[in-house]
Amino acid sequence: MASGKRAEFDNKVVGWIDERLPVFTLMQKEYGVFPTPRNFNYFWNFGAIAMTMLILMIVTGIVLAMHYTPHTGEAFNSVERIMRDVNWGWMIRYMHMNGASFFFIAVYIHICRGMYYGSYKKPRELLWILGVLIFLLMMATAFMGYVLPWGQMSYWGATVITGFFSAIPVIGEDIQTWLLGGFTVDNATLNRFFSLHYLLPFLIVGVVFLHIWALHVSGSNNPTGIEPQSNKDPLPFHPFYTTKDTFGLLVFLLFYVAITFWAPNVLGHPDNYIEANPMVTPAHIVPEWYFLPFYAILRAVTFGVNIYVAAGIGLMALAMLPVYCAQTAFKVPVIYNDKDKKNFNWNKFFVLFGLGGAIFMLGFLCQYELADGSKALALPFGQLIFATAKLGGVLAMFGSIALLFVLPWLDTHPVKSANFRPMFKIALLVLLVDFIVLGLVGMKPAAGLWIPLGQIATAYYMSFFLIILPFLNKFEKALPVPKSINEAVLAKKKAK
């Protein structure tokens, strides 16, 4: 970055520093004249917004840590003291509490933007993966932060989440004990969560740095999904996007401030204002709203893996195999094509896939409990479970996030933006609705119709990534894509 001719700075002090450490040259290059596509819409604000929220969380968090006591006997009271006695403590805590929610809102919109406009595709795969990593780190940080006030939801949330590890066969319970530093969530757990809650945000800052570095290597994607080709396509970052980002940020902060001051507890749970009691579980444990869809996926797996479930999944995967491999260098005989290798033979595919689905359902029914506790179906070996429902749920939940990591290789369609992919657009918008439905299911007790609804929504989530995207790679015909960003902008202007 120090190579090349440096710009002259009018201020002598700035020039002196820059000659020795070219930070001003770097800022000038990366944020001053940095070429940025000229057609950004407001969805492109959310990276800068998320960055601002991260800084806000760190600043408020450092101050809160100065007043907080990480001890089971004191933690709850120290938070109440922050709320009542510490000067401006109530405001700083409410900013931190709601800041977490708004950080997630910004990041969720940022992720949706990336998916809609295909920002994860070549050459931005690593940029996307770093982003998913930030999302994971945020989830870990938020979870541990929620434990610190030591309310009932803190305690039981921690118990349920760390309970995931006990699902690992054989060594699971030892791992859980090691993670907790005791036999239950207790002082040792609270202390290490405080330590990690303080550490992880700085790791996030590090990964954000890499994320932005990668962004500045490939350049930003844009609503057309086509790369800039001439100097008519980009604009310098400053003043065009510094202004647009600032405006978007201020609008976002208006919502944040409104919630923080007028409804600071609307996104929280009243049970967390009751001090943790290891002897009493609240009637209904719910995680924070930003975890609800994943919690719903966890609970959707009410069945373990028996031979029928395993065989069903295996057959469906076998049916999909030629579709997956069509995108790769692996040569698998494309068994569904006609003799002339032109037409996909849907009948063959549906028979194999449908057979897999039916066998899967048999395995499910073998474990489906009727009101009297008996099973809906009795088949030989139906009760022989290789992986329990608990393990299955945990794997499905982590799998749902793992799928995001490999998204660039699941969607290999050459066109990036959903604006030019009518089928992808519908499938993706349905996924968005599906994700919200999962959130609603996660909020409700696991009973009645919420269970099958959660299962259907989970099935769509998984199918979107594992079935729909690979098929769209093969079959979706994109609309004509504009020749350049500039042309698209001018055409839009003309249409007005």
Partner: protein
Amino acid sequence: MSAKAAKTHDDGGTRRDFLYLSAGAFGAVGVGSFAWPFLQSLAPAADTRALATVEVDLSPIEVGQAITVVWQGKPVFIRHRTEKEIEGARKTDVATLRDKESDEDRVIKPEWLVMVGICTHLGCVPLGQKKSDPKGDFHGWFCPCHGSHYDESGRIRKGPAPKNLTVPTYSFITDTSIRIG
């Protein structure tokens, strides 16, 4: 290094390969032994482990009553079961259970049921200790978190939990007192 020493041996490895491998192996052992105390420091400390046993006087618990005591920071359910509950638990066909265990294997004395009150699903405390609590469809305990039903013997009958409520190691010190752990 002399030309002779650098010659390849029968298996194709050179002295340099050997040095790389042994230095790598020593490095790995070094990193491992450095990391061990830090990883081990996260495991339960001596004072936590010292709370491993607890003694409970059972004499004040009347038939049909249940108490919850704390052992290793966990709730332990102790239930003085009625004749009806014992009978109900024993007539259940073990073969139909998810986690096949007979009631006889879960108790030392049939009237005293002692078990860890932590749902084997994700660690909530099931309801059913108090008279007013819901007891689930099988007259035992009901976990409100994800709807697991346990019977009179604390065995899983319905819902997502994979195992019966754990019976801790315990012994009778006298006729009416036990030591858990």
